[in-house]
Amino acid sequence: MKKYWWKILGVLILLYTFFMGLLTPLKTGISEASPMSLHAGRSETVTVVGYNSFFTKEKEKLRAWLKLPNGKALAAKRIDVVDDRVAKLTFDLPSYLPIDTKVKDFTLLIDSPVDGASVLPGGIAVTQDTVNLALADALWPNAEISQLHEKETITFPFRNILGETIRNTYYHVPLWMAMFIILTGGMVFSVIYLIKNDADADRKAMALSNVGLLLGILGIITGAIWAKYTWGKFWSWDVKQNMTAIALLIYGAYFVLRASFEDPEKKARVGAVFNIFAYASLVPLLYIIPKLTDSLHPGAGGNIAFGSEDLDSTMRMVFYPAIIGWTLIGLWIGQIILRTTRLRDRLMEV
C-alpha cells in the first residue's frame, strides 16, 4: 500500500476533476440577442436567448439594462418572458445618446434573483442620426444599476464562443502542464546520467520523455478538436500550436537518434546530450515567443491571460488539481515503461 499511495492519489484527483469538471453547471449567460443593432429615438424590442436561464421563476423581479462603458445605463421599459430561455426586452431609446460617435456598442445586462446577473459584452450596437451631447444629457434617463444578484450555487463562467467547452480547460490545458513537468524531469535525469554514468538514470530519462511525448500528442489532438469548434479550424497556425508541434518534433528526433545506435552506452550518452541541448534551446522560447507575437490562445499579444477574468476561483479548484493528477498518472505510466526497459536490459545481459 505504501508504494501505491501516489498512484491512488493520482486516480482520485483525476476522478475529482472529471466529476467536478463535468457536473458543475455553467453560470447563466446570454447566448443570443436579436436584433443586434438598434436605432435611437425609437421604442425597440430585443429578443434575448438565455443560456441555463430560468426566466419564468420570479419573472416580476427580472431587470435589464443597456449599459455604456462609461457606466451610463438605460433600463428596459418592459420585459416579456416567453419561456425559461427566451425573453423580450423593450427599450425606449431617446433620440440623442450620451456618446460622441454615431454608433456605439452597448452591453446588455440582465439581472434575476434566481440566475444572478448575466451580460452580453458589447453585444448591441445603437445608432443615432446626429451627435448632440447637451441634448442627450437632458434626455437620457440614467438608471442606477444596483443590487445585482449573485447566483448562489457553484458554477463555471459562461463565455459566448466557448459555451460548455470551457470545461476543456481541465482536459486539454493540464496535459501541456503535465507534459512540461514530465519532460523537465526527463531532462534532469539526463543530467544525472551524465554526472553519475548510471544506466538507470538514462532509462528514467527515456521513460519520462516517452510519456511526455504521449501527453504532447494527446494535447495536440485535444487542442485540435477544441480549436475546430472555437476558431473554426483544426489547425489555425497559432503560435502555441506551432511551438508545441516543434516540441514534439524534437522529442521525436530524440527517439530516432537513440534508435540509430547499437551500443547501449553510446546510445545513452549521446541521447542524454541531445536531450539537454534540445530542452535548453526550446523551453525558454516556448514561454517567450508566444508572448511576443499574436496568438489566439489566452495570455498572448493583447489577449487576456489566465488571470482573474479567464480562470475564476471555481475553475482554479479543478484546474490545478488536474495538473497534479495528470502528472501523477504520467509518472505511473513512466514507471511501467521504466520497469519494462529494465526487464529488457536484464534479459539482454543474460
Binding site: L194, M243, I246, L249, I250, G252, A253, V256, L257, S260, F261, K266, R269, V270, A272, V273, F274, I276, F277, A278, A280, S281, L282, P284, L285, I288, I289, L292, T293
Partner: protein
C-alpha cells in the same frame, strides 16, 4: 598551450584547409547561387514579405550543408589525434567561430545574389546586418553542435537534418521576425527586446554546447 592559442591554431588550420580544397567552399557558394536562381525562376515577382522568408530559408539550407561537414567529415583517426592533443572546448569553439565566419560570408553572398535578382527591400541596413550576424552565429552554434552529435551515428547526414531543424526553428522564427523589422514590414517597437532575446538564446546555446561537448567527445 592554453585554450586561446589552441583555438587560434585550430582556426588557422580550418581556414588553411578550406583554402587548399577550394572545391568545398566554391561548392557551397554555387549551391547558394543556383538556389537563388531557381527561386527567381519559380517566383518571378518577389515581394518584400516573400523576400524575407526566402532569404532565411535559403540561408537555413545552405548553412546545414556548409556546417554538416565540420564534424561528420572528419575521419576517426584525426579525431583521435585531436583528442590526445587538445582541449575539447578549444575544438568546439574553434569550429563554432569558423562556421560563424563562413555563414556570415554565406549570408552576405545570399543577400547580394537575392538583391541582384529580386531587388533589395532592406530599409534599415544596420538592423539587417545585426540580424544576419546574430543569425549566422545562432545557426553556426546549433548546427556545429548537432553535427557533433550526428557524427557519432552511422547515417549522420539524415540525422543532421532531423535533429537540427526542430532545434533551430525557434531561432529561425525570431530571425524572420527581426529582419521583417529591417524591411519595414513590422513596426519598430520591440526591436531591442527581440535582439536581446536572440543574443540570450545564442549565449545559452553556446554555454550548453561547451558544458555538454566533453561528454560527447569521450570515446
Amino acid at each position: 598551450m592554453n585554450i586561446f592559442t589552441q583555438i587560434f591554431y585550430l582556426l588557422r588550420k580550418e581556414i588553411t584547409l578550406e583554402w587548399r580544397q577550394k572545391y568545398a567552399l566554391s561548392g557551397i557558394l554555387l549551391y547558394v547561387l543556383s538556389t537563388v536562381f531557381i527561386v527567381y525562376i519559380s517566383f518571378q515577382n518577389i515581394g518584400p514579405q516573400v523576400w524575407n522568408v526566402l532569404f532565411w530559408v535559403i540561408m537555413l539550407f545552405a548553412s546545414v550543408n556548409a556546417v554538416m561537414k565540420s564534424f561528420v567529415q572528419e575521419s576517426g583517426y584525426r579525431q583521435l589525434y585531436y583528442f590526445q592533443l587538445l582541449h575539447p572546448i578549444a575544438i568546439l569553439l574553434s569550429k563554432m567561430i569558423y562556421n560563424s565566419l563562413l555563414l556570415l560570408l554565406l549570408g552576405g553572398l545570399t543577400f547580394v545574389a537575392l538583391a541582384f535578382i529580386a531587388g533589395n527591400p532592406v530599409q534599415d541596413a544596420g538592423i539587417f546586418a545585426l540580424t544576419l550576424f546574430l543569425g549566422s552565429t545562432g545557426f553556426s552554434i546549433t548546427f556545429t553542435f548537432v553535427s557533433a552529435i550526428a557524427a557519432k551515428a552511422d547515417n549522420s547526414s539524415t540525422l543532421m537534418a532531423i535533429l537540427s531543424f526542430p532545434v533551430v526553428i525557434p531561432i529561425l522564427l525570431l530571425l524572420v521576425n527581426l529582419s521583417a523589422h529591417s524591411i519595414g514590414l513590422l513596426g519598430s517597437t520591440d526591436i531591442a527586446d527581440k535582439t536581446m532575446l536572440l543574443g540570450a538564446v545564442d549565449l545559452i546555446l553556446v554555454a550548453m554546447g561547451l558544458v555538454l561537448f566533453p561528454f560527447l567527445w569521450r570515446d
